[in-house]
Amino acid sequence: MEISVTVNGATHTSDVEPRTLLVHYVREHLGLTGTNVGCDTSSCGACSLHLDGEAVKSCTVLAVQADGTEITTIEGMAAADGTLHPMQQAFMENHGLQCGYCTPGMVMAATSLLQENPSPTEEDIRLGLEGNLCRCTGYHNIVQAVMACAAAPTA
């Protein structure tokens, strides 16, 4: 089936099988491999990206369901000149990552969270990121990073 999606500002028209998962479409058809597959069972959040501005788990969305939508992946977060998105910068400054596997999903979930709740409490952040698992950091510095980003005037 033919779908047309705008990914990180560029429109793509592709012929996909209905059963193609959005995460596979983004990684394999478009070559945007920043979006990771962790669990493949809707649990870990590594595959989170923005669908029409909201974080979703792209292993649990069909590419055909995304027809006509606007998608942002981790590759679309930094500015064209390479300046990191404030959330990426905050993760870097607060050591919010170790191996980095969960990080794209964390950044996408965290930016979606701040859009819905620009001044979250620590509790709000922990609940807001409950769909994202990290096996390295113990979460502490991830939460610190999101708090720092929320507090920063540029965020």
Binding site: R19, A55, L62, E130
Partner: protein, 274 residues
Amino acid sequence: MIPAAFDYVRAGSAEEAVSLIAEHGEDAKFLAGGHSLLPLMKLRLAQPTVLIDIGRVNDLSYVRDGGDHVAIGALTRHMDVETSDVLREHAPLLAHAASHVGDPQVRHRGTIGGSIAHADPASDLPAATLALGATYVVQGPNGTREIAAADFYEGFLTTSMAADEMLTEIRVPKMGGAGWGFQKFNRRAQDWAIVGVAAWRRNGDAGVALVNMGSVPILASSVASALAGGASIDDAAEQAAAEADPQADLNASVEYRIHLAKVLTRRALEAASG
């Protein structure tokens, strides 16, 4: 994991969806948010040959004040149920229960209609709407009919909706300032309830329903009648499992589930009375 191959069609309206399901027969399934169906299809526990995508039937995504009730379109996503001002004012128990479904990413996609139609006894919204005495509106080839929540759940993942019917609206009676409590017991963030309880109380009336205490969501009528008969919260909560038929699984034995149902019912009623 990739689902088995299927044909995909998109419905623009409830009428179109109902006529497509009639046309494609029993191996066709509606796809709403996909957050129950797609995980099952990836595990090949479900292999529909045709998916009828109702996710774009946007005129079924709404929360409206219906006078004595709140009307919620079946395609309303959990996030929109959770944040609806109308629901927060008139049926806060339901808005709160929706905020406990999965995680934000799940709530951005999953719909209240999908949750109810799927009829998983471990889901939060079937029990919450059952406790509130909701009515479900379904549309079929011969028009619409209303089914009381108490008559809807027939067995594990089985409802009294026919295969060619679509759930279109959920009507929840306004709570009229009733006190309420929602208790969801799980071991980890994001998990489904091991046991959950939704309860409300207003003067002599009460409604209590249980999550994951049987093959269907359970209406704990004995608790409500004990309260109506003047029983204390502690005594009424002892009746919590009277209608239940819990199963053991990796998370809990039958005895533990019954214990949890009583404790959580007491806590929910205390919150509802506070």
